[in-house]
């Protein structure tokens, strides 16, 4: 008799919750007249961003996010779209990272990042309800208070409260990411989910700069149970500005010896037709970690690369 693979068998409960969760996500969006779309996984190049590494595939790349194609749909008058798709990022492996992972992205025209925060609240509360959670959720022994509205705190304010140096100083000393993960992330959202918003413009290559303060971009990250769950923008629609931002990212990639991706010309050509809109990418595996009370991303996928 073949021995059963215990590591797979014991994931059954988590994989069942994951499947129900994805069904609940689909229901949320289809009930609200979003069109589910599918865009290619293999593309000429991802959006040029300094710290996101795409995996080469026969001269092209596996997409790191469906962002470029989804925005071309937005520009072609698809005003509300969503997609649940596998994405690929090289050399990302840890208890919260796996190189092949599942992203939920959705875009809405006529919307901005403030409206997007509300949709996030509605989505996650609706999914929680479909999974049988009324009220709070327990994750890793701690209560996540789900009552709306969720906390909103600007990045500048988070640095002021929890970092030894200001946001500007952290950027100058190339310590922004380090302080974010070591000092800020452990201290925010200890009660409930939290939106961290208004990131330095240099850290939001596809986000619109804030009119009242052009040093920051209209970008937010949603944290829940200590996990970074989603990243959203008021989308940048100025093609010239977008090209300049991409050139900056490509310059930084070359300076650190990384592959320089081709400039996404067809995306840039479509951008002038794209309406004011907001978009977001949410880590489906990480949301599954919360609803299955899992410590590691390995617990919510059937197979890790190491299992193959």
């Amino acid at each position: 008799m073949m021995a059963t693979d215990w590591r797979l068998t014991k994931k059954r409960g988590a994989l069942q919750i994951r499947a129900l969760m994805i069904r609940a996500i689909r229901r949320f969006f289809t009930d609200r007249d979003y069109l589910e779309v599918e865009t290619p996984s293999r593309i000429p190049g991802p959006a040029p961003e300094c710290h996101i590494d795409a995996i080469p595939s026969d001269g092209w790349y596996l997409h790191t996010s469906p962002e470029l194609c989804m925005k071309r749909l937005l520009a072609a008058e698809y005003p509300r779209i969503f997609q649940i798709t596998r994405c690929f990022r090289g050399a990302e492996r840890g208890s919260r990272h796996i190189p092949e992972f599942t992203l939920l992205e959705w875009y809405e025209s006529g919307s901005d990042y403030c409206r997007m925060m509300e949709v996030c609240e509605e989505l996650i509360i609706s999914v929680a309800h479909d999974l049988g959670h009324e009220g709070n959720i327990t994750y890793r022994g701690r209560q996540i208070v789900m009552h709306r509205p969720w906390e909103r705190i600007s990045v500048t304010e988070a640095f002021r409260r929890y970092s030894p140096v200001s946001m500007e100083e952290a950027l100058e000393g190339n310590r922004f990411d380090e302080i974010m993960v070591d000092e800020i992330e452990p201290r925010i959202g200890t009660e409930g989910p939290v939106f961290l918003y208004d990131y330095p413009v240099a850290l939001g290559a596809l986000a619109r700069a804030k009119q009242a303060d052009p040093r920051v971009a209209e970008r937010f990250e949603l944290y829940m149970g200590g996990l970074e769950l989603a990243n959203a923008f008021s989308e940048l629609t100025d093609a010239q500005e977008q090209r300049t931002r991409f050139e900056e990212e490509l310059k930084n990639r070359r300076a650190s010896g990384k592959a320089a991706y081709p400039m996404p010309e067809k995306f840039l050509a479509a951008l002038p037709a794209m309406p004011e809109s907001s978009g977001i990418a949410l880590g489906v595996d990480r949301l599954a970690m919360i609803f299955t009370d899992s410590e590691s991303i390995d617990d919510v996928v059937a197979f890790t690369p190491e299992d193959l």
Binding site: K10, E92, G257
Partner: protein, 187 residues
């Protein structure tokens, strides 16, 4: 030469001429930010530990260690004795040097002992070891829901989770890299 992306738990690297082992490791990366590699490193000679976060672009020398295949013999007063089968040469490691590996050492197990010059410093286990279960609740047949697990203890005193059908006296295979149950072993 190792890159930051090669860093992982139990990797041995050389810093300022001394061999270090990574005893704790985590990969962190803000979505749009840089990859950060958090390491807790232990000096394999004096046991001193420190924590450090590395980034992409950092490079590391492999520790200059020699491996020798030896057999585990016994433990006495927290000294672990190993022998090379051909020469009968014996060496001792302290409990600290053996570390987590002590939960997987059964008599005559073949392991690699790491030497820095002539000095034994550490141990590399085979990826899989077979150990006898010494403590397990009896299997209640009604309790066969797939995916359920129960706590068990093996002959070395190491405790872990296993499927409900595993019983005392049986041999099981454990993955020493994760410390997890893999399968039952029929002898």
């Amino acid at each position: 030469m190792y890159n930051a992306s090669d860093l992982r738990k139990n990797l041995k690297i050389q810093i300022d001429g001394d061999p270090y082992v990574i005893v704790d490791f985590s990969f962190v990366k803000p979505g749009k930010g840089q990859s950060l590699y958090r390491c807790k490193l232990k000096n394999m000679i004096n046991g001193n530990q420190f924590e450090r976060t590395y980034r992409s672009g950092d490079t590391f020398e492999p520790a200059n260690l020699r491996e020798k295949k030896m057999q585990y013999l016994y433990e006495e007063d927290r000294q672990y004795c190993f022998m090379e089968a051909e020469t009968y040469e014996q060496v001792y490691l302290t409990e600290d040097q053996v570390g987590d590996a002590k939960g997987f050492l059964s008599d005559n197990l073949d392991v690699e002992i790491l030497f820095f010059g002539e000095e034994p410093l550490g141990i590399t286990l085979p990826n899989f070891v077979d150990l006898t279960v010494t403590v397990a609740e009896p299997w209640a047949k009604g309790d066969s829901v797939t995916g359920k697990s129960k706590p068990i203890v093996v002959e070395t005193g190491y405790a872990l989770q296993a499927p409900p059908f595993v019983e005392e006296g049986e041999k099981i295979r454990i993955d020493t890299r994760t410390g997890e149950y893999l399968t039952r072993v029929k002898e």
